[in-house]
Symmetry: C2
Subunit: 135 residues, 2 copies
């Protein structure tokens, strides 16, 4: 079962390789970090802070591609954890179908927070159980 | 008229804000630089050097979104130069239509070099004339 989560914290540092975002269960207490790249962290941070750009940035372009092709972003889901790597999907409604597009969690969450309103973010229950066991 | 161009040089520097890519006319001599961000320059550079990633990077995700939604990236075009800012478009074939999606040149060219084979890159003749006058 997909568990609804929200982005609760972004930790960026120019001097370290890995940046962190933290997801928190909306109807519960569970929270966990995901290590992401600096570009994606900056992109997420800008959007959360409401910084706008005169030209479409890369994650704006992803949203724009979906919309221009007649699709509608429905939500994003962190669907798997394999060998310490999280796998995510963008879920798009298009021509009455649900299309799932493989993505890194960082891009999926950047796309989620680029949308207005912000897209729902889910994590599969199995993934959440695995990550909580490891903590 | 759109003029076919190719990416002929990428100049990246970690210590300066602006990075440069140079486009060169395929059937002629004209060449000009475009200032882009470090992330986009790095993304273009990786692809030109054939560096692959186990997971889809952000520009891979754009290509994947188009393909998953049943579209086909046809080419990219730098269509306008306004107030020293270049405007570009991704051109996508979808359901027998040609869809033009507003993008920054850096993202458009990163998408072009992400595709295999690399997408044609065009610059509108007017833009090329303007930029050559300014050089």
């Amino acid at each position: 079962m997909p568990v609804p989560m929200e982005l609760c914290r972004i930790m960026t540092s120019d001097i370290s390789e890995g940046q962190y975002i933290f997801l928190r269960e909306i109807d519960g207490e569970r929270t966990f970090p995901i290590v992401i790249g600096l570009f994606e962290a900056t992109s997420i941070d800008r959007r959360v802070r409401g910084v706008t750009s005169p030209r479409p940035l890369t994650h704006d372009l992803i949203v724009s591609v979906v919309e221009n092709m007649g699709g509608e972003l429905q939500d994003v889901i962190i669907s798997e954890l394999k060998d310490h790597t999280y796998y995510a999907k963008l879920r798009v409604r298009h021509d009455g179908e649900l299309i799932e597009i493989d993505a890194r969690p960082s891009d999926a969450i950047a796309v989620a927070v680029t949308c207005d309103p912000v897209l729902p973010i889910y994590v599969n229950e199995d993934v959440l159980n695995d990550v909580m066991r490891e903590q």
